[in-house]
C-alpha cells in the first residue's frame, strides 16, 4: 500500500512534468515565469476547495454544493461590506459559509440522506439564494485587493502570490491531518470499511460532520480569495468549482470508493488540470471545446479510478 501510494504520486508528477514540457515546446507564451505563475494562481482557489474535498471522498462523502456556497458567501460578504463595513462583511460571509455546512450536516448526518443528493439540492438552491442577495447583478467591493494583488517574499528568492501561499498552507494542514492524526486515520477507516469502523467504536456521524465543517471554513477562505482576485461578487462567482475540485480529487487517486489516496495526489491533479486549461486557452481553442475537454478529463479520471481498482482486486485474488 505504501509503495503503491508513492508510485501513484510519482506517476502524477511525471504526467505533470511531461505536460509542461510538451506545452512549452508546442505552445507559444506557455513557458515563462508570468504564465506559469498565472497557472498556479488560477489553480489556488480550486486547490483550497480540493483539500477538504479529498477528506470527504476518502470517507465516501461528497459535496457538490461548494461552488454555490462560494457564490452565496461572496454575495453576503460583498453586499454586507458595502452596506456596513469590511469586518461585518467578512463575519457575515463566514456565517453564510458555515450556515451552508450546518444545513448539509443536518441533512446528511441526522436525516441520513445521501450526501450527493443533499448537496445537489444545495448546488441549485444556494446559487439561487446568492442571486437573491445580489439582486441578480454583480456588486463590486472596495478595499479588499490584498490577496489578489500582493506577493509574499519567500527567503528573498522569489515572490509568491498570496493565493498560492494560502493554497500551500491548506495543503500542508490537510496533509498533516490525514497523515498524522487519529481523526485522519479514522476517516480512512470509515471510507474503507464503514461497518468495521462503527463496530470498533468510531462515531461516524461526528467524524463526517467535522469534515463538512472544515469544508465550510475552506468555502469561506476560497470566497475571500475569489472576491479579492476578481474584485466582485457575481451570480457566477465560484461556478464550476465543485466540478473542478471533484475532477482533481478523482484524478488525484482518491477515487469514488474511498479509503485511499491523499492530498498530494489531489494537488498534482489540480496543477495538471490548470496546465491543460491554460494551454487550451493559449492555443486559442474555442471555449465550447474547452468545456468538452474538461468533461472528458473527469470521465478519464473516473475510468482510471475503475481500472486501478480492478488491478487492486486481481492482485488481491492472486495472493
Amino acid at each position: 500500500m505504501k509503495n503503491f501510494r508513492v508510485t501513484g504520486i510519482q506517476a502524477r508528477l511525471l504526467v505533470l512534468i511531461a505536460l509542461v514540457v510538451m506545452f512549452s515546446l508546442t505552445t507559444p507564451y506557455f513557458f515563462g515565469v508570468s504564465n506559469l505563475t498565472n497557472i498556479i494562481v488560477n489553480a489556488s482557489v480550486v486547490g483550497v476547495i480540493a483539500c477538504p474535498m479529498t477528506l470527504l471522498l476518502v470517507a465516501r462523502q461528497i459535496d457538490i454544493s461548494v461552488g454555490s456556497a462560494v457564490a452565496l458567501s461572496a454575495a453576503v460578504f460583498v453586499v454586507m461590506s458595502e452596506k456596513q463595513s469590511l469586518i461585518i462583511g467578512l463575519v457575515s460571509g463566514l456565517a453564510a459559509a458555515l450556515f451552508v455546512s450546518a444545513l448539509n450536516v443536518a441533512a446528511i448526518v441526522y436525516l441520513r440522506v445521501e450526501s450527493i443528493i443533499v448537496t445537489l439540492a444545495g448546488l441549485i438552491a444556494f446559487r439561487g439564494l446568492a442571486k437573491v442577495v445580489l439582486d441578480g447583478r454583480s456588486v463590486t467591493i472596495n478595499g479588499w485587493d490584498y490577496i489578489g494583488e500582493h506577493r509574499i517574499n519567500a527567503f528573498g528568492l522569489l515572490k509568491v502570490p498570496v493565493p498560492v501561499v494560502i493554497f500551500m498552507v491548506m495543503l500542508l494542514i490537510f496533509y498533516f491531518i490525514m497523515r498524522a492524526t487519529k481523526y485522519g486515520s479514522n476517516m480512512y477507516a470509515i471510507g474503507a470499511n464503514p461497518e468495521s469502523a462503527r463496530l470498533s467504536g468510531i462515531k461516524l456521524e461526528v467524524q463526517v460532520a467535522k469534515a463538512f465543517a472544515l469544508m465550510g471554513l475552506a468555502v469561506f477562505i476560497a470566497t475571500t480569495m475569489t472576491v479579492s482576485m476578481t474584485g466582485i461578487a457575481s451570480p457566477t462567482s465560484g461556478q464550476n468549482l465543485e466540478f473542478l475540485a471533484l475532477t482533481a480529487v478523482i484524478l488525484g487517486g482518491v477515487g469514488l470508493g474511498g479509503g485511499r489516496g491523499n492530498v498530494l495526489g489531489t494537488c498534482l491533479a489540480v496543477l495538471i488540470l490548470a496546465v491543460v486549461d491554460n494551454a487550451l486557452v493559449l492555443r486559442g481553442v474555442q471555449s465550447f471545446w474547452q468545456e468538452v475537454a474538461r468533461g472528458s478529463l473527469l470521465m478519464l479520471a473516473v475510468i482510471f479510478d475503475q481500472l486501478s481498482r480492478k488491478r487492486d482486486k486481481t492482485v488481491r485474488m492472486g495472493i
Binding site: 500500500m1 498524522a180 492524526t181 487519529k182 481523526y183 486515520s185 479514522n186 480512512y188 477507516a189 474503507a192 470499511n193 461497518e195 468495521s196 469502523a197 462503527r198 463496530l199 470498533s200 467504536g201 468510531i202 462515531k203 479509503g259 485511499r260 488481491r316 495472493i319
Partner: protein, 253 residues
C-alpha cells in the same frame, strides 16, 4: 460460587425485530475464566444475543450485568470501554490497514505532550505493542506490515482475535471463529483459543455450528432454539448427541 466470580449475567433478555422474536426471556451466567459455547440452528438468535451484549444492537427488554454491575450499551464503543471485546463473524477489520492499525482501530495511541492536543498518532508505539501482542499469542505472519486484505482467512481471523484479546478485560465474544476456515486454519484458531483459556483471565463466549470444534475448548454449552435458551449444559456431564438433540428439539427427559 460467590457473585464475585460471575463475569456476565444476562437476565430475561428479549429482542424483537418487528414481529420477529429473535430472543425470548434469555437468562444465563458466565463465570470468570469460563469458556462457554453458544450453539443452535440457523436463525436461533445466537448472533443477536452476542450483538446485544456487544452493544451493536439494543435489547427490547431485560438486563445485562458485567462483573456485577448493570450495563446499558448503546454503542459498540461503550461495550469496548467496559471491557467486552467482540470478534464478529465478518471480523470488522479495515482491509487497507495493516495489523497494528487494525489492532488500534478506534483506540489509537496518541503522542504525549503538546502533540496530544492535535491528536497526533504514535505509530511507533502502536507497532511496538502490536508486535508484542502477536508474539504473546504465538501468532505468526509472513509480513507484519502487510495490509490485512492480502492475508488468508485464518490470518485475518487471528488478527481480529488478537485485537479482542489485547483489549478485552472481562469478556471476549467470538462469533463463528472457525466457520470460514479450512482444517489447518481452524486448528490454529482453536489453539489460540486454548491459549486464551490457559491464561484464565478472560471469560469466552463462542458461537459455533461445529460441535467438534467447541467440544475441544469449552466448559459449558448453551443451546438456543427459536430465541429460547433451551439448555445450559456442563460439558463433562453430557455427550455430543445430547447437545444435538437439544439443538433439534428432539430431546425429551
Amino acid at each position: 460460587m460467590s457473585a464475585k466470580n460471575v463475569t456476565l449475567k444476562v437476565e430475561n433478555l428479549n429482542k424483537n425485530y418487528g414481529s420477529v422474536v429473535a430472543l425470548s426471556n434469555v437468562s444465563f451466567e458466565i463465570l470468570k475464566g469460563e469458556v462457554v459455547a453458544l450453539v443452535g440452528d440457523n436463525g436461533a438468535g445466537k448472533s443477536t444475543l452476542v450483538k446485544c451484549v456487544a452493544g451493536s444492537v439494543f435489547p427490547s427488554s431485560g438486563s445485562i450485568y458485567l462483573d456485577g454491575e448493570k450495563v446499558n450499551f448503546h454503542t459498540p464503543g461503550q461495550a469496548r470501554d467496559a471491557g467486552i471485546e467482540t470478534v464478529y463473524q465478518q471480523l470488522a477489520l479495515v482491509d487497507t490497514f495493516n495489523i497494528s492499525e487494525n489492532l488500534f482501530l478506534g483506540k489509537e495511541v496518541k503522542r504525549t505532550g503538546l502533540s496530544r492536543l492535535f491528536g497526533i498518532l504514535d505509530r511507533k508505539e502502536m507497532r511496538r505493542q502490536a508486535l508484542q501482542a502477536i508474539q504473546e499469542f504465538n501468532a505468526t505472519f509472513p509480513d507484519v506490515n502487510a495490509t490485512v486484505e492480502t492475508m488468508s482467512g485464518g490470518q485475518r481471523q487471528i488478527v481480529a482475535m488478537t485485537r479482542g484479546a489485547f483489549w478485552g478485560k472481562s469478556l471476549l465474544l467470538l462469533d463463528e471463529p472457525t466457520a470460514a476456515l479450512g482444517v489447518q486454519e481452524s486448528k490454529s484458531v482453536l489453539e489460540v483459543i486454548e491459549r486464551f483459556r490457559s491464561q484464565n483471565q478472560m471469560s469466552l463466549l463462542i458461537i459455533s455450528h461445529n460441535l467438534e470444534h467447541v467440544w475441544q475448548v469449552c466448559d459449558r454449552i448453551l443451546v438456543l432454539r427459536g430465541g429460547n435458551l433451551v439448555a445450559n449444559l456442563v460439558k463433562k456431564d453430557v455427550t455430543k448427541s445430547d447437545v444435538v438433540s437439544h439443538i433439534t428439539g428432539a430431546y425429551s427427559k
